[in-house]
Amino acid sequence: METLGRKTAIVGVAESDIGRVPHKSKFQLSAEASRLALDDAGLSIKDVDGLFTIISTQGGEHSSMLMAEYMGIRPRFTDSTSMGGSSFVAYVEHAAAAINAGMCEVALICHGSTNISDRGGRAGPVSSKTEVYGPMQFEDPYGISIASSYALAAQRHMHEYGTTSEQLAEIAVATRKWASLNPKALMRAPITIEDVLNSRMVSSPLHVLDCCLVTDAGGAVVLTSMERARDLKKAPVAVLGTGESHTHRMISQMPDYTQTAAAISGRLAFERAGVSHKDIDVAEIYDSFTITVLLTLESLGFCKKGEGGPFVSGQRTAPGGDFPMNTQGGALSYTHPGMFGIFTLIEAVRQLRGECGPRQVKDAELALCNGTGGVLSSTGTVILGRV
């Protein structure tokens, strides 16, 4: 069922200034990443007729209208689907469908966030709300946080399958090794499994080194039809298969604490791409927490349910391992502005173009990106290929 049929391609990718960028607004970061991604494609903002964006934090309401106005465009296709960090991966599906249907020709997916600067430069409590309206009144009064939500899943996975903190730490250590090869990564000093286990406990069983960074960052991705892509600046990267889904919004409503919606979105993406797991050369898996990666690998079907721990052991996902993953250093060590999904796409495209220098995965032809949003709530999966 090759519904996408290589008819659309990613033709431009870029990140903005990343890390700690207190002098720039999230809107500027998003717009500057957009300009750079359009430059990368050999296109201009005037070519953009489809806009896909979400700003989940304060001041970002009506995101696509806001960003279109900010950049001076009037799109004929507009989308602010809000499902957390997976949104940007899901936008690839929406954009490909819109382009295939002739509803737009050049689609811009963009994101900007000043997640660390908004907190005065220090990660920590941000909420000071006192009144909770809506279903979150069944969670917020109990002191739930994003980290605690993911910790609930980690604890259950350990209970059911004997997964260990050492196995989760393997992911953080391997990801840091990739980061050490990326000059743009924020955290580049090597770490060991013991370092992860000895780092401060945030919410058991998750230590601080099991948790993603908190940074400022923007990113952008440009898509167009394969027909138009062939005349642009760089070799197009084909959209082979996509999928999206969500299973819940609140962690107390998660149907199965050991499986994410990637079981749905991944199956769709593989079916539509007509490829199998062993064909994937490089995987970019949103690593909000180490447990996110473990659950995602299982849910996508790279290993059986419960076997994620053994799968990542022995630094299998590190440089030189036989499952290259999160090759820019991931949300754990490269950057994490709150919604990381777009950066999985940017890195996958660069890997498939062969632009990654010391961290290049040799002969990468097929890449898989998986974004996870909310509290293990939503996923978007995209399989990309060199043309």
């Binding site: 409590p125 006192t130 009064p141 605690s148 609930l152 980690a154 259950r156 919410s203 058991s204 107390s252």
Partner: protein, 136 residues
Amino acid sequence: MAEKRSKPVPRPYQDTKAYWDAAKEKRLIFQRCLDCSKPQFYPRGVCSHCLGSRLEWLDSSGRGKVHTFTVSYRAPHPGFADELPFVIAIVDLEEGFRMMSNIVGCDPGIVRIDMPVKVVFEQLTPDIVLPKFSPA
């Protein structure tokens, strides 16, 4: 109990007013669908299994088991700073519904998955009582 540094406080709305009213009387109640007979939690205006609107409220025994839990060492809100570390758990009630709560009245270190627990009630504000759980 005196009101401490302000924590997030539920603001009851159409779907949830009956629940918070019952909690104030130290009753834990939940909804069951009169069309498909399934229980649901949190309270909604329709059944999340069949979308029917015919829902009844039932009293829970307040007895359940820990499905999963975490010990939080970080306060997500300034109101929790004095209580670190504290336990957040997902509790399976014997009537077949599941809810988030805190496990209180014990050392966080003794909490285990499948541990039997029973409901206790904590006065959050003069108007809101929060169901929590202790080892049974």
